[in-house]
Amino acid sequence: MTSTFSSSNSSASSAQRASDGRASLAARIAEKFGAANVIADAAPLAAYEVDGMQPAAAVKVGSGAEIAELLQFASAEKLAVIPSGGRTKLGIGAPPARYDVALDVSRMNKVLAYEPRDLTLGLEPGVRIAELWGVLACEKQWLPLIAPFAERATIGGVLATDSASPLRHAYGGPRDFTLGMEFVTGYGAAAKSGGRVVKNVSGYDMHKLLIGSLGTLAVITRANFKTFPFPPARDVFVAHFENSVAAMEFCHAVQRSALEPRLVEVISPEAAKLISAGANAPLPLSSNGWSVALGVAAHERVVERHARELAALATQTKASNFVRLGGEDQSEILNPICAFPTHVLAADPGAAIFRIAALPGVMAALAERLAAVAAGVQLEHATVLRPHGLLFFAVMNPPAAAPDAARLARAAQEIFRAAEDLGAKARIEWAPTELKRAVNVWGEARPDFQLMRRVKQIFDPENILSPGRFAGGI
């Protein structure tokens, strides 16, 4: 009893010391960076929580110079810093090893340069995706990024998480249309790579490393993009099929044809139910079969040709239904599909969502195998796949059942194995912290992780940026 008492007394005092330490750290940060832009109270700090960990302070930085100062301070003091913007994707990645300071770039939200005639754009990291559309639409241009949580998500966060846009097949991902970046390294140096023109091979493409790096290498202070003219006409078509094999057969037929849909989303009946439940209006998705939604953006005559030929291909591949939505309905269906993770997490906050890169040829087999894995451990599942090579697979606890982390962990191991068997590369994008502590969200170790650790050591030698969240224990 005595020892228990003294031990709990000692842990209480060490907790007290830790709490005092954090309070004093918050006070020092407030003194250094100005109280107006430093959050130190527990209640508002909850918004910066990552996997149950709260920072001692959040700093709402206003410039690259402030970021450099903060990171130099953090490097000297060995404080772990997690950068954030709209805070919509802080749940992505492994649980952080440490977390002392949240670096909030949401105040850095200016469009720094936009030259429509050059098709170039320069943004601060805190520019919100939804606001960006307004700026670009004035010039009938756009960035081909449809990101989940677009109302709150920022461009810095979309880059740092390499948010998977359904338009990637047609336009490429952020790595393909990001021209250059300015950033502050972990050791607090302001640097840049790439440029501001649409073509450039001067120096190492270091900014490509930052895309998808979850803020483990540097904090982005400016990103330059190539913009795209907005096509004059657009439409969405939806075809329904009995099963995933038939749906994929239709997708392959489209891929072999001359047609050029700008996005193709294949939705399982379970995913359709979740997406429809989360949408404001009824959607033409099948709740007992698989749906394929195709977006076309081009000249009017090209859209008309797609309408004719897609309908013919749907008939040939035995679609049970084929719907043309009409141009105005586009966002009403595309936004909910893109927000698939939101709908899954709304239905089951304890769900895990896998992001799996696979070759088109194995997509149908992979989808079937994953469904069998989930069914085998009595978990619910839902799939949205992009036939050019990306699949999102959600595993959920059955309704009314208590969350079962052990079962989810078992399923996760099998999903990683199934992906590997088919030459696919899986990672868990969303999962409850408990699962992320039990299963490595980045999958098995690979030989190239040692190269990644070398890169990390260059950019962030003190290991202060988002420690522990990335692949290879970075």
């Binding site: 050059d118 390294t185 023109v197 649409v198 073509k199 998808g212 003219p229 090209v302």
Partner: protein, 487 residues
């Protein structure tokens, strides 16, 4: 010409004998005469290697790297030697690793639109191998009949059609690398993404200074249904770039949009007989591709825009033969120019495309100032200029002036918000100009990245980064070191 910069001693004969033992005598060249062609590439630079080796396998590359590292000898990879920035030249001597025997297409996966190739495969051979499947490899440098994929990957090569289709990095999904430690590591893969840092993206365009690439996975593209090639002819050179800017305003991104000024098109016409009107001030060669309806519509709008900007004639190629002839004119332009001058210096710079008119005027002024004819042929659609300075390399004074004129063009482009190189690479040609575009902190970080992969600086030394102050080799402290790495 820059061989004088060499600071490394010549390789000992015994190392060459060791290489012969490893690879066989037929895979090593070391006599002065045999090495002559490896002293040059497509640039104005030259540098003498100590030997050239011709590996057949990744294992042989590993053994070369280990041997060279053991002896502290520089290693430089080389494809076909068509590069335009001295990237494949052994500026510090050492071993040139020539990939002409690693030239197999290892796999074609039509269903998933991938090809796995060795670095010595010629660019156009990839397309030739897959065109019967309705596929092609999109990046098309003008030298595509001879340049290799390995060289393309090192330099992140572009080409006329990269305007719509992107450059090499957009079409490479995975690489096999031989590191300076001799380890073989794969980065990326066949899938469209691989969890972790984008090491493939870092390697493509690193100009052979971070690792040796021994296998490349390429993304193939589907051949477009229809193609239309237009030739717009202008009396006044200033009208052509205005046309280009206006096309963007009308939401048109052609597959290619090339410009030749009057002097250049006359030089080309005399050589290729492509049908460029000799009395014109400039021509735009514009190509649109895609679905037939889109191509027709875009071609009509482009013709309208050209005419609105005073094109005196807009000609549409009637068939594949005529289209090919027009492209032959464009792609053989450098060769055509070579008939008019003992030497020519092809520049490669990028500017925002709206700055084309003023930049063309500035290039003309610079030509007058330094008393050189400067021809202009470039990828107008993306603002990637290739001014060609005609001079006589045998005259050191002229060479000096040509380099100065080139530097002045580069400075103008950077001041206009542009870039040092759009597709030819920095190499040994522009490494000392890098501070025009990048700060000390930028270059310091690039140097650290290089040191992480190439710690002794023996892999393609003297390229990309300035050799001068602030960029000597950096040693990276071990993991968890307390202090920041310092220069």
């Amino acid at each position: 010409m820059r061989g004088a910069l060499r600071t490394k001693p010549h390789m000992e004969r015994k190392i060459i004998r060791e290489l012969e033992k490893l690879l066989g005598r037929d895979a090593v060249l070391s006599s002065r005469e045999d090495l002559l062609m490896y002293e040059y590439d497509g640039s104005v630079e030259e540098a003498k290697p100590d030997c050239a080796v011709f590996p057949r396998t990744t294992a042989e590359v590993v053994s070369i790297v280990k041997l060279a590292t053991r002896h502290g000898v520089p290693i430089v990879g080389r494809g076909a030697g068509t590069g335009l920035s001295g990237g494949a030249l052994a500026v510090q001597g050492g071993v040139i690793v020539v990939f002409s025997r690693m030239n197999r297409i290892l796999e074609i996966d039509a269903e998933n639109m991938r090809a796995v190739v060795q670095p010595g495969v010629v660019n156009l051979d990839v397309t030739r191998a897959v065109e019967h499947l309705g596929l092609y490899y999109a990046p098309d440098p003008s030298s595509q009949k001879s340049c290799t994929i390995g060289g393309n990957v090192s330099e992140n090569a572009g080409g006329p059609h990269t305007l719509a289709n992107g450059v090499t990095t957009n079409h490479v999904t995975g690489l096999e690398l031989v590191l300076m430690s001799g380890e073989v590591v794969r980065v990326g893969g066949r899938t469209c993404e691989t969890p972790g840092y984008d090491l493939t993206g870092l390697m493509v365009g690193s100009e052979g200074t971070l690792a040796i690439v021994t296998e490349i996975t390429l993304r193939l593209s589907r051949k477009p249904e229809a193609v239309k090639t237009l030739l717009a002819v202008y009396n006044d050179v200033a009208d052509a770039p205005e046309t280009v800017a206006d096309m963007t305003g009308r939401a048109i991104t052609p597959a290619a949009c090339e410009m030749l000024d009057g002097w250049t098109l006359r030089a080309v016409e005399a050589f290729v007989h492509a049908g460029f009107p000799l009395d014109s001030g400039a021509v735009l060669l514009i190509e649109v591709e895609g679905l037939a309806e889109a191509v027709e519509e875009q071609a009509a709008v482009i013709a309208e825009i050209c005419k609105a900007h005073n094109a005196r004639e807009v000609r549409v190629a009637r068939d594949a033969a005529e289209r090919e002839l027009l492209w032959k004119g464009r792609k053989n332009a450098f060769g055509a120019v070579g008939r008019f001058s003992p030497s020519y210096y092809v520049q490669d710079a990028v500017i925002p495309r709206t700055k084309l008119p003023e930049t063309l005027r500035r290039i003309e002024e610079i030509g007058k100032k330094y008393k050189f004819q400067i021809g202009n042929i470039f990828h107008a659609g993306d603002g990637n200029l290739h001014p060609i300075i005609l001079f006589d390399q045998r005259d050191p004074e002229q060479f000096k002036r040509a380099v100065e004129a080139s530097g002045e063009i580069m400075r103008h482009c950077i001041d206009a918000g542009g870039a040092l190189t759009g597709e030819h690479g920095v190499g040994m040609e522009k490494n000392e100009l890098m501070p025009l575009m990048f700060s000390n902190a930028d270059l310091d970080l690039m140097q650290r990245v290089r040191a992480a992969f190439n710690p002794d600086g023996m892999l393609n030394p003297g390229k990309v980064l300035p050799i001068g102050k602030g960029c000597k080799e950096v040693r990276i402290p071990p993991q968890g070191a307390a202090a920041y790495p310092t220069l």
